[in-house]
Amino acid sequence: MIWEVFRQEKSGDYHKHCGNVHAPDREMALLFAEVQHGRRKPTNSLWVTPQKEIGEVDTEDTAFGGTTDKSYRWAMTYNFEAAASEVEESESEQATADRERKAQIEGGS
């Protein structure tokens, strides 16, 4: 049975997918994950879940965020100096996400 493995670097972080292991049950999957994924990289916690329990939708099935122009939902569209630092921070996170999204669409998938 295949188990997908998610590793959290430090407390409070998200668990991010880092690979999978082959194991007969959850306990052994955790043990193998520990050995294969938690040995060298900084690890605070690991999750394992049976691969067949994971649902997926990808760019072949859908156009994420749609294909119409939705610039109205981005902070960058509104050309004003940010009122406060937290607004500025949000805008720069959005700008980064938008840039990455566009690069991915242009680059094809």
Binding site: G12, Y72, R73, A84, V87
Partner: protein, 314 residues
């Protein structure tokens, strides 16, 4: 873990569902997150009519995206609250419908005219964002995680609100006057957004000792005023004479409390303020109308997986 240990360890994202948290902590966190979640939902209902009433297609689209975001924030936050094991999401939604769930003062006031929308979308969202930015380092990890996504999205809300304010304040004389009037009506409510000064806030002490709350009401209010008074003035809004606000040498602000209507504020806090009751009942009607959807989803889930009660109270 006992309360003493909680206070000692209290730091950003320190506690998660894996920790045995004392009931006092879990109850305080539930109260705070549920209040926050309720506010997101009630704010969304307040703005919903402006998807139709907004004067252009762009504005309608932006309002619809924003309202959708706010409902999403509510859902994220109910999940974060649910993870404390005190109340389920359904219980919290029912409490809101029954008038037992508490939420922000500003969302108890109906919004009648389009010129009022920047009062919420710029000033109230701005005030909320100030607070939310500090909550990225709250001690309950699922709450902090929810804030990552919420703050990511909020920048659009505030800037969209600012764009509307700019448009109105550079519009016709009539528009400018109506916007100034709306500002005068909303300004005291916006100041009260941060609640009374610390001494009167009953839950502040404990919530900050255990790291749930990261900044005092007074500091939040000061930070807000520092950023948003200049913006209001820039667009030609006149700050009303009352409440009297004075700036201290250290950059903090002093708001003369007697100039604000605290009777109204505390009536609102009890959900007894008449126009606010209308807002609550309006949302209840919407919740009742789609009860059949929840029922059919639940029975579908039960058929597939058995009982669907998520993390019910212990």
């Amino acid at each position: 873990m006992d309360i003493e240990e909680v206070k000692q360890r209290a730091g950003p994202r320190e506690f998660s569902p894996k920790d045995e948290m004392p009931e006092e902590y879990r109850k305080a966190a539930t109260r705070m997150i549920q209040f926050h979640a309720n506010s997101e939902i009630m704010g969304a209902y307040l703005e919903k009519p402006f998807i139709r009433q907004a004067p252009s297609l762009d504005r309608k689209l932006a309002f619809s995206a924003k309202v959708q975001d706010e409902i999403g924030h509510g859902q994220l936050l109910y999940r974060a609250a649910e993870s404390l094991g005190i109340k389920t999401r359904d219980e919290m939604l029912d409490e809101l419908a029954e008038g037992k769930g508490k939420f922000l003062n500003c969302f108890h006031y109906p919004m009648e005219s389009y010129v009022e929308t920047p009062m919420i979308a710029f000033f109230v969202d701005g005030a909320a964002m100030r607070r939310q930015a500090t909550l990225k380092s709250t001690s309950w990890e699922p709450y902090a995680h929810a804030m990552d996504k919420v703050c990511f999205e909020e920048g659009f809300h505030v800037k969209h609100g600012e764009a509307i304010l700019y448009e109105l304040m550079t519009g016709s004389k009539k528009e400018q006057e109506m916007t100034q009037e709306a500002f005068e009506k909303w300004w005291p409510r916006i100041i009260q957004f941060f609640g009374p000064t610390n001494e009167k806030s009953t839950h502040h002490g404990f919530a900050s000792e255990v790291g749930l709350k990261q900044m005092s009401n007074d500091d939040l209010r000061t930070a807000f005023l520092n950023a948003y008074i200049p913006k209001a003035e820039k667009y030609g809004l006149e700050i009303p004479d009352e409440p009297r606000i004075s700036k201290n040498d250290d950059g903090t602000y002093e708001v003369v409390e007697e100039d604000l209507d605290w009777d109204e504020f505390f009536t609102i806090a009890k959900n007894d303020y008449e126009p606010g009751v209308g807002q609550i009942n309006g949302r209840k009607a919407a919740q009742d109308a789609v009860e059949w959807v929840r029922e059919s989803l639940d029975s579908h889930e039960n058929r597939l997986y058995g009982s669907s009660q998520p993390q019910a109270a212990d």
